[in-house]
Structure formats: structure tokens, C-alpha cells
Symmetry: C2
Subunit: 455 residues, 2 copies
């Protein structure tokens, strides 16, 4: 006898998740029970003693949904790095050098968000598009403006997406254009702290679905005072923090030239690092940087597709995973064009393969790449789900008791998208790899966040 009254609904079907890095679990015809708060009450497999009874009682109570064959339940995806205001720019100007891309496209675009109608249109579309692509948790950079950023937070609540939203801080007159820069440090800090408190008290945010994030853009765009003051806010409220970290040769050199320190050293000294920090990119890390990231239990938002265009090199993903650094994935809209974290997982593999093999035909095979540096598809999917959730200190990404039920249903039947399963000769591992390689928006049939169906 189970307490069906305490169960909101249950699902029966084939499920995949990756509780352990590098491994996957396939739960065939399993049962997952969601409680009234949207958390997982239990999971049962057919060989469990409770399975048959629970299934029958929930069915009788009208609370059981059975997935059809060819549908798979997966944890929702986590996007650790998305510039929401850059959404209209996705896929545009990627042939440009980063500086031109920022000055000619990005900053003028981000500055448009004082127009709240425009903000409403874009933020409504980007949050819904990410959800439709299976992203149940998203970490957003917004713009430097408080009100439009609060609108983004409210939009996430309205569409039902778990979100981590930051008002961008940038005040360094040497690196930021006059028209798109904080008026003063005092004003910036006042607005940022107000933003934090306003997000906590947003109507409908009692369960904390949306969290504020302290968001210094990156070292070159912030004065040291700004970074230190933002660090104080992180400590005062124990907040999430997101920023760019050692993304390119130029960014790495800037910190060394100006401050004689690495980005990680600068962020640590400013008090910005904690167990919920998201360090986007993190390409040019020193050994000491890696140790510091681990000591703070901070995490990396790996954005492989953007790295191919703007990072000047490949992340040392293999070594960082092996060192036990927390890593998840990011779309980096619009440094990369795709809002799909399935795509990011695929690209994490392919960029690691290119790193392993190298690129230059003129070199001998032994000199061309970095042997043993590949990342597996299963590791990539772990990053897209469990890994990303760990970076955020969020109880999602795994189908286990007390975890929030953030999940998606993948449809692999013919005529839908490009993903094809052949039951006669595809193993569960083959099926999961095919999903990672080929799942696209068309294949995502349902999405739940905190037990609420939102797609």
C-alpha cells in the first residue's frame, strides 16, 4: 500500500540518467513517482518488490502516465552559460573577430533592453525556446539594466523554467563603450543588491525556482573595486556568481598585464568564488588555478561550440574531468548559435576529438594532437545533466528520491526529426549515444520542471 494521496503523478517507461560520471543507467520500464511538491518520491524497477503494487494503485487512482515504446525519459538539461539578450543575434556575425562582434553587434543589442517591450518579446522567446530544446535549468547573463533583468527573472517564473539570472556588471571605462556601462560603482551596487532582493521576493518564487546571480562580465570590463564589492555581495547573501574566465589568449594576457594575476586568482581575491560559482570557458588555466577551483568547489561552464569560434584553443576537458573539477555545459548564446544542450554535449565530444587528433596535416601524427584527451558521449551527457546540476549546487539531473523532478521525454519514432532507433540491434548504450548525437527540438515531446509540465 502506497500513499497515493501524497503522489501528484507517476510515469512508467524507459529511462536514462547518469548519476556517476562516465557511466549511465538504463531503467527499463521503470516507475517514477512525483510528490505534491514536484520532487521525486520514489523510483522503482520491475524487479523491486514495490513496483507492481505501486503501479496498480497509481493506475487505479488515475495518476499513472505510460510512455510509449520509443519514448525515453531523461533528466532535463542544464545550460550553464546563456546570454539571454544576445538571442536575436544567434548565428550572426560569427565570421567577425571577437572585438568587432562585441562592439558592432553585441553591445548595441544588449543596450536595447531598456525598451521593456523588446525585452519582453525576446525574453519570452528565448526562455520558451530553451525549454522546448529540453533545457530545464538555465543560467542567464542579462544586460546591465536592473528592470529588464527582473523582467527576465519574472519571465522564467512565468514559463516555469528553473533559472539563475544575473544583472551584468561592467564599469571599466577603458573597455566598455560610453553608452553601455554602469553610471557609477555606487549606483551599480545599489541596483545589483536591489535586484538580488527583488528576485528573491518575486511573486511565485517561494520555492526558489529562480535565483539571482552576481555577474561581473569579465576581468577587463570591471574595475578592481567593482569586483571586490561584488565579492562582498556574494559573501553577504551566499549567492551564485557567474563570469567569463580565461576565455582567450587576449583575456588571459589582459589579467596578467594589468594585475599580474590569473582570472581565477583575481576572482578568488575579490571574494567572488564559492561552491555555486559558474566559470564560463576556463580555457587557459594554470595548475594553481585548477587547485583553487577545486578548493572553492567552484564549477566550469564548458561551451565547446563557442570555443571553436572565439577561445583560440580547446578546453582541457579530459584533464579537468579526471581531476574531479565540477563541469557542466553551456550554449553560450550567442557566441555560439545553437540553444541546444544536446548540441553542446555533442560538440564537447567532437572538440575533444579534434584536440586528441590535432588539425595540421603537415605535422606527423604523433606531433599533431594530445593523445588520450577525448571525452566520451556518456561523459558529455553527464556534464549536460548531473555535472551541470552539481556546479549549481542544485538537486536536479538524477532520477533519485528527493531530487526535483526536472525531466524530458524524447521521442525516437520514425518521421520525427533525424533520430532513428532500431530495436533489433541497438543496445541501451547505442540508444543513449544516438540521442546525444541526433536529438533536436522536434524530438522533445514533453518537459517538466519541478514536477510541472511546461512543454
Amino acid at each position: 500500500m502506497i500513499a497515493t494521496n501524497a503522489i501528484q503523478f507517476a510515469l512508467q517507461g524507459d529511462m536514462f540518467h547518469c548519476p556517476i560520471k562516465g557511466e549511465f543507467e538504463y531503467l527499463s520500464d521503470a516507475l517514477i513517482l512525483i510528490d505534491l511538491n514536484g520532487n521525486i518520491a520514489a523510483t522503482y524497477q520491475p524487479f523491486d518488490a514495490e513496483y507492481a503494487l505501486a503501479r496498480d494503485e497509481l493506475k487505479l487512482a488515475g495518476k499513472l502516465t505510460e510512455l510509449t515504446k520509443g519514448q525515453y525519459l531523461l533528466p532535463g538539461l542544464v545550460d550553464l552559460h546563456c546570454h539571454a539578450p544576445q538571442w536575436p543575434q544567434a548565428g550572426k556575425g560569427l565570421d567577425l573577430p571577437l572585438y568587432d562582434w562585441l562592439q558592432n553587434y553585441t553591445f548595441p543589442l544588449e543596450n536595447r533592453y531598456t525598451d521593456l517591450d523588446f525585452a519582453k518579446e525576446v525574453y519570452g522567446d528565448v526562455t520558451k525556446t530553451l525549454l522546448a530544446n529540453g533545457t530545464t535549468s538555465a543560467v542567464y547573463f542579462a544586460s546591465i539594466h536592473r528592470e529588464p533583468t527582473e523582467l527576465l527573472a519574472q519571465t522564467c517564473l512565468d514559463v516555469g523554467q528553473r533559472a539563475f539570472v544575473g544583472k551584468v556588471n561592467m564599469d571599466n571605462a577603458e573597455q566598455c563603450p560610453d553608452y553601455y556601462r554602469e553610471a557609477s560603482i555606487e549606483k551599480a551596487l545599489y541596483e545589483t543588491e536591489l535586484f538580488v532582493n527583488n528576485v528573491f521576493s518575486l511573486k511565485g518564487n517561494d520555492s526558489g525556482l529562480v535565483s539571482p546571480v552576481i555577474t561581473p562580465r569579465f576581468v577587463p570590463s570591471c574595475t578592481p573595486t567593482m569586483l571586490n564589492k561584488l565579492g562582498e555581495l556574494v559573501q553577504k547573501y551566499d549567492l551564485h556568481m557567474q563570469t567569463h574566465c580565461s576565455e582567450s589568449d587576449w583575456a588571459r594576457d589582459y589579467s596578467q598585464t594589468q594585475f599580474g594575476k590569473t582570472d581565477i586568482e583575481i576572482y578568488a581575491d575579490a571574494g567572488l568564488l564559492n561552491n555555486k560559482s559558474v566559470l564560463a570557458h576556463s580555457i587557459f588555466l594554470t595548475e594553481k588555478d585548477v587547485e583553487m577551483i577545486k578548493r572553492y568547489n567552484a564549477g566550469i561552464g564548458h561551451c565547446p561550440l563557442s570555443n571553436m569560434f572565439f577561445a583560440n584553443a580547446a578546453m582541457q576537458t579530459r584533464e579537468l574531468l579526471d581531476h574531479g573539477v565540477q563541469i557542466g555545459l553551456g550554449s553560450d548564446i550567442a557566441g555560439a548559435p545553437s540553444p541546444s544542450i544536446f548540441r553542446a554535449a555533442f560538440d564537447a565530444v567532437s572538440h575533444s576529438r579534434v584536440r586528441e587528433e590535432g588539425v595540421d596535416v603537415k605535422l606527423s601524427a604523433s606531433d599533431r594532437g594530445t593523445a588520450g584527451s577525448r571525452v566520451s558521449f556518456i561523459e558529455a551527457f553527464w556534464m549536460a545533466t548531473t555535472g551541470g546540476a552539481q556546479v549549481l549546487d542544485s538537486k536536479t539531473g538524477v532520477f533519485a528520491k528527493h531530487y526535483h523532478f526536472d525531466a524530458i521525454v524524447l521521442e525516437t519514432n520514425k518521421d520525427v526529426g533525424n533520430l532513428r532507433i532500431w530495436p533489433d540491434f541497438d543496445t541501451p548504450k547505442d540508444i543513449l549515444e544516438k540521442i546525444i548525437c541526433l536529438a533536436q527540438k522536434e524530438n522533445i515531446k514533453r518537459v517538466w520542471v519541478q514536477g510541472k509540465q511546461v512543454v
Copy 2:
């Protein structure tokens, strides 16, 4: 007054194409007239004298279709390298080394096609899926079996795809498994020549929509006698030829070790090269190879995504384009998982960017990559359309009089896929780049081949 009787139908709307490598043309609110044979009779722009009258008369005759705003007419895409029988394997086993992948997955799978029911199911799905992804011309490797390969050719005719289909030849006992190898050279040649003639005389193939292709798998799988005899067939009928060329370190070394020649030298000596040859991959080319490819006016099928996994290096796409070598794109199903040539175009850019920047963070920026080796999005789209058509010596890929009307309609309105156009601040170049970056099957609303709507 135009001869509306000689016009099958006309389309009015916004169009893109790339007649010249590295450039694009945007035809705003243009008119394109298709004759009774499915060829382009004329294209008019609003400033042309004939535009208004032609438009009015065709509308009156009920032969005009107007695209809506946000829809764009593009030339159909050309896939120069697709292993049709590997379709069930797309996205599977890509973590394996190439040898294991071939022996454990590919060869056993290709050998299943003697089962004509299985062949019918897979070939029906792969041809329709490619069409739905916008691929109006496809160059297929089938399996070593004649009858199933004829079934593939017939399927292409049935679904209305322009196709170039080859029965694979592989007879080298040292490199091919016993169960998946030609019984004898004599039998193989008899079957191959029979296949060629049977495809030419397929019912419904009077217009030559489907062409036979001589298809030696690659140097290691063929004996020299086989290659020479296949070369005689190419010359006798002036046929298309497809094969793999210098794809990896191993393949390059095999030819040198066994024959003291490059792949190109071997193919040329065997009489296999002409102006319709498709050389898939072509990663490790010598300067002499490049000159020979140009002399024969042969072409390269560039498969960037597959290269990331299996080629050991990046193609020298920049230099080959600059040398005027004919190049188009291939999906390389299932050495890469995606059937989308939009994806191949994007990956041609991203792999070239990784080549330009390099991958190894431990090297200085100046030693890391190959400066100036990037390929632009517009060049990639040229390869996906005009370039691919030129490789095949096919009058498609451009909206110009007497060209076959192979075309697709891209839908960019909201809620469809992930592609978003913002008319207020996207230029035509931005729009085309966004399409290349983000178009997926969902966005492809109509497809025509030879003037016939097939999707």
C-alpha cells in the same frame, strides 16, 4: 506577353543563391518561372521590365505561388557522400576506433541488405529523411550487392530525389571480411556493369534523375586489378565515380607502403578520374595530388563532421578553395551522425576555425594554428549548393535560366525550430548566415526536385 502555357508554375518571394564562390545574391521579392520539364525558364527581379507583366499573367493563369514574409527560397542542397546502408547506425559507436567501428558495426550492417525488406525500409527512410533535410541531390554508396543497390536507385526515383548511386566494390581478401567481399573480380565486374545499365534503363528514369556511380570503396579494400577494371568501366560509359581518398594517416600510409603512390596517383593510373569523380575526404593530399585533381577536373566531397572523428586532421579547405579545386560537402552518414547538409556547412566553418586557431593551450598562439585558414559561412553555403553541383557536373545549385529547379523553402517564423530573424536589424547577409547556422528539418517547408514538389 509571356508564354504562360510553357510555364508549369512560378514562385514569388525572397531568394538566396551563391553563383560565385565566396559571394551571395539576395533576390528580394523575385519571380522564378519553371518550365514544363522542371527547368528554370526565367528569373525576374522587381526592377526588370518583364517582372510586372509576367507576375500578373501567371497569377491570372493560376500558376503563381507567393512565399510569405520570413520564407526564403534557396537552392536544394547537395550531399556528395552518404553511405545509405549505414543509416541505422547514425550516431552509434562513434567512440570506437575506425577499425572496430567498421568491423563490429558497419560491415555486418551493410551485409544485411541482401534482405530486400530491410533494404526497402532503410532506403525508403534515408532518402525521405535527406529530402526532408533539404538534400535534393545525394551521392550514395550502397552495399556490395547489386539488387539492393538497384532498389536504392529505384527508391530515389520513387521519392523524387536526384541521386547518384553506386554498388560498392571491395575484393581485397586481406582487408575485407570473408562474409562481405566480392565473390570474384569477374562476378563483381559483371554485376557492376549490369547495375550501370539497369540504372540507366530504370522505369521512370528517362530524364536521368538517377545516375549510376562506379564505387571502389577505397584503395585498401580493392586489388589493383579491380581498380583498373573499374577504371575501364568509367571510361567506357563516361560515368561518375566515387571513392574515399587519403582520409586518414592509415589510409595514406597504406597506399604508400603497398604501392609507393598516393591515392590520387593510384586512381588516376587506374583510369578512374574524370570531371565527375567525387573524392571523399581528401585530407592528406600532396601538391602533385592537387594538381592532378585539377587537371582531371575531379571534385572533393568534404565531410567536416566525419573528419573530426576519423580523419586524424583537418582538410586544407582554405587552400583548396583558393586553388580553384572543385569542392562540395558530404554528410558521410554514418561516419558522422547528421543527415543535414546545413550542419555540414556549419561544421566546414567550425572545423576550419579550429584549424586556424589550433587546439593546444600549451603552445603559444602563433604556434598553435594555421593563420588565415578559415572558411566563411558564405563559402560553406556555396559548397553546399553550387560547389557540390559543379563536382557532379550537374546543372543545379543556382537560380538561372536552363538550370534544373531543385529548391527548398526555409521557414524562419517564430515557434519553428531555433532560427529567428529580426527584420529590424538583420541584413540579408545576417539572414543567410543565420540560416546556415540554425536551419534544421523543422524549418524546411517545401522541397522541389526537377520542378516536382517532393516534400
